[in-house]
């Protein structure tokens, strides 16, 4: 495994290890996560360091089992790191969670089936300590409109398609105007056509809301099309194998995936993925 780190390692692949702490939306320093079970200890993440500036869009790309979902859960305060420091918007992940500074979009949408689309988006106002919307923040109805679901407010999840359910879940995560949006393979279970459309819309929503996004995926194209930066992770144990700056224009449509620049970076990402495994 480690022998695979030869040759092309001359790339500026060394991830920026902990730059100035306060400025970043998310700063992770030497984060290690170990899960201890009866039989063995699994190291999900080892010495992972990275940072995202505010308003950035970072894709986390890696094979299954590389700990990319775990990394997202560390940032969301769902998993406690064994060692290392995490700072989210200059706070501890716990404080960021308590203040509703982050939204999370799950792989299977995680909508409550007994609530309508609108009621699902309203859920964050009914639980936890934050029960009012900040001044000027979009209302649940406006957020449903933002994700293209006006007219579907009263529908139950089982009446919606997979793509629509995921849109509702994005609207819910955006409620209260979180400054950080964490997305765990949200489009992984969707067909390619729906996924393409949602990718385009996510770029638009990112530009409209200005929130920082961390997006976990195992698709090279998705990572590259969406992200301003792509953090490539390797498995066993999960670690950073490459950090790639995406020099594509801010306004992108899907056709950009056929351009030479895109294909070149995609090749670089695939190479990094290959090196890591």
């Amino acid at each position: 495994m480690s022998g695979a780190l030869h040759g092309t390692a001359a790339d500026p692949a060394r991830p920026a290890t902990a730059p100035s702490g306060a400025g970043g939306a998310v700063v992770c320093r030497n984060v290690t996560v170990r899960f201890v079970s009866d039989r063995r200890t699994v190291t999900a993440l080892e010495n992972v360091s990275f940072s995202v500036e505010r308003g950035g869009f970072l894709s986390l790309l890696g094979p299954s089992g590389c700990g990319k979902s775990t990394l997202l859960r560390v940032v969301a305060d769902l998993v406690e790191p064994t060692s290392g420091d995490v700072s989210v918007l200059g706070m501890s992940p716990r404080d960021a969670r308590l203040r509703r500074s982050l939204g999370f979009v799950f792989q299977d949408a995680a909508l409550l089936p007994w609530r309508t689309a609108l009621q699902n988006v309203e859920l964050p106002l009914e639980v936890g300590g934050v029960k009012t919307l900040p001044k000027g923040a979009p209302t649940p109805r406006e957020l449903l409109a933002l994700v293209g679901l006006s007219g579907w407010e009263g529908s139950f999840p089982h009446e919606l398609s997979g793509g629509m359910r995921q849109r509702v879940s994005i609207a819910r995560a955006l409620l209260g105007g979180p400054r950080l949006l964490l997305m765990d393979e949200p489009f992984g279970a969707l067909d390619e056509i729906t996924r393409d459309r949602l990718n385009e819309e996510l770029r638009r929503i990112w530009q409209e809301t200005g929130t920082t996004i961390l997006f976990v995926t195992h698709s090279v194209y998705e990572a590259l099309y969406l992200g301003e930066q792509v953090l490539v992770l390797a498995a066993n144990p999960g670690r950073v194998s490459d950090l790639v700056q995406v020099d594509l224009p801010r306004d992108r449509d899907l056709k950009i995936r056929d351009t030479e620049a895109f294909v070149r970076v995609a090749a670089r990402l695939r190479e990094s993925l290959g090196r890591g495994s």
Binding site: D77, F104, A110, P113, W114, P124, V127, G129
Partner: protein
């Protein structure tokens, strides 16, 4: 031009197919309604024929017409006996299920209690109703109380098991969502676990609706002078087969009605599941 021509060509075809489809669907609906009724009528006819052909004496088995006549002639007697059974079954149902729901909620919040007492609950449940009944009669006397207790006990276990499962089998991502939203334990219970448990609860309640009636009747077999159970015993000893059959029919009709009421309530409460096609 060609487009309109196509449409006019297609339209009669489509509407004919649509009409044919609707006709077939209507026929299907009627079939589904009529066939069970035909089955029941067939069985009744066979029963009547057997009694007539073999000249079965009325103290062994009555003819359907005699049962129907008894249902009419002794309607008052049947209803006065149904009332206590219904009260026992319904109160036992309420008591047993409320206890099960409360205990399931406690188990989910205090794992220690679940580990300590769940095996005991399983052991009590393995005692057959018929064996539990005399014990409860000794403990609670000869009135309605032991019957209510038996009906409650019989409802209790399936509801407890299903309710615990319903409260605990919450989608892990929904739990993570609640944590991201910093929801308190109480909020997780009322916004997530309780709703999640409702389909499980209702499938247990539907079973309990018919078993509660069984519990009340079995309770009445031991030391009781009124009720469907008592009437069954009296009719048997008196070789009054027509009254016995009529009593059984009344009991099972009540049981079915109880089940239907619970099913209706379920439809009103659990509205989020895609309707299950039969």
């Amino acid at each position: 031009m060609t487009a309109t021509a196509d449409a006019s060509l297609l339209a009669p075809d489509v509407s004919a197919a649509e009409a044919e489809f609707l006709r077939r669907k209507r026929r299907e609906t009627w079939r589904r309604r009529l066939l069970p009724a035909a089955g029941i009528l067939c069985a009744l006819g066979l029963w009547a024929a057997l009694v007539y052909v073999f000249k079965v004496p009325p103290f062994i088995a009555p003819s359907p017409s005699l049962v129907a006549w008894t249902l009419y002639a002794k309607f008052g007697l049947l209803m006065t006996n149904l009332l206590p059974t219904a009260i026992e079954a319904v109160s036992g149902f309420m008591l047993g299920n409320i206890a099960a729901i409360v205990i399931a909620t406690t188990f989910v919040h205090k794992k220690v209690l679940e580990e300590a007492f769940f095996p005991l609950v399983v052991i009590i449940n393995t005692i057959p109703v018929v064996a539990k009944a005399p014990i409860l009669v000794l403990l609670l006397g000869n009135g309605m109380e032991p019957k209510i207790a038996i009906a409650a006990l019989i409802c209790f276990f399936p509801t407890l098991v299903n309710m615990v499962r319903g409260l605990e089998s919450v989608n892990p991502q929904s739990m993570e969502l609640m944590r991201v939203l910093s929801a308190s334990k109480t909020e997780v219970f009322f916004k997530l676990r309780l709703y999640n448990s409702l389909p499980y609860l209702f499938s247990a309640l539907k079973i309990a609706a018919s078993t509660a009636v069984i519990g009340a009747i079995v309770g009445e077999w031991i030391g009781s002078t009124t009720g469907i159970g008592a009437l069954i015993i009296q009719a048997t000893y008196a070789f009054d087969s027509a009254l016995l059959y009529a009593t059984v029919i009344v009991g099972s009709c009540f049981s079915m009605a109880f089940f239907l009421v619970i099913t209706l309530i379920e439809r009103l409460v659990v509205r989020w599941q895609a309707p299950v096609s039969h």
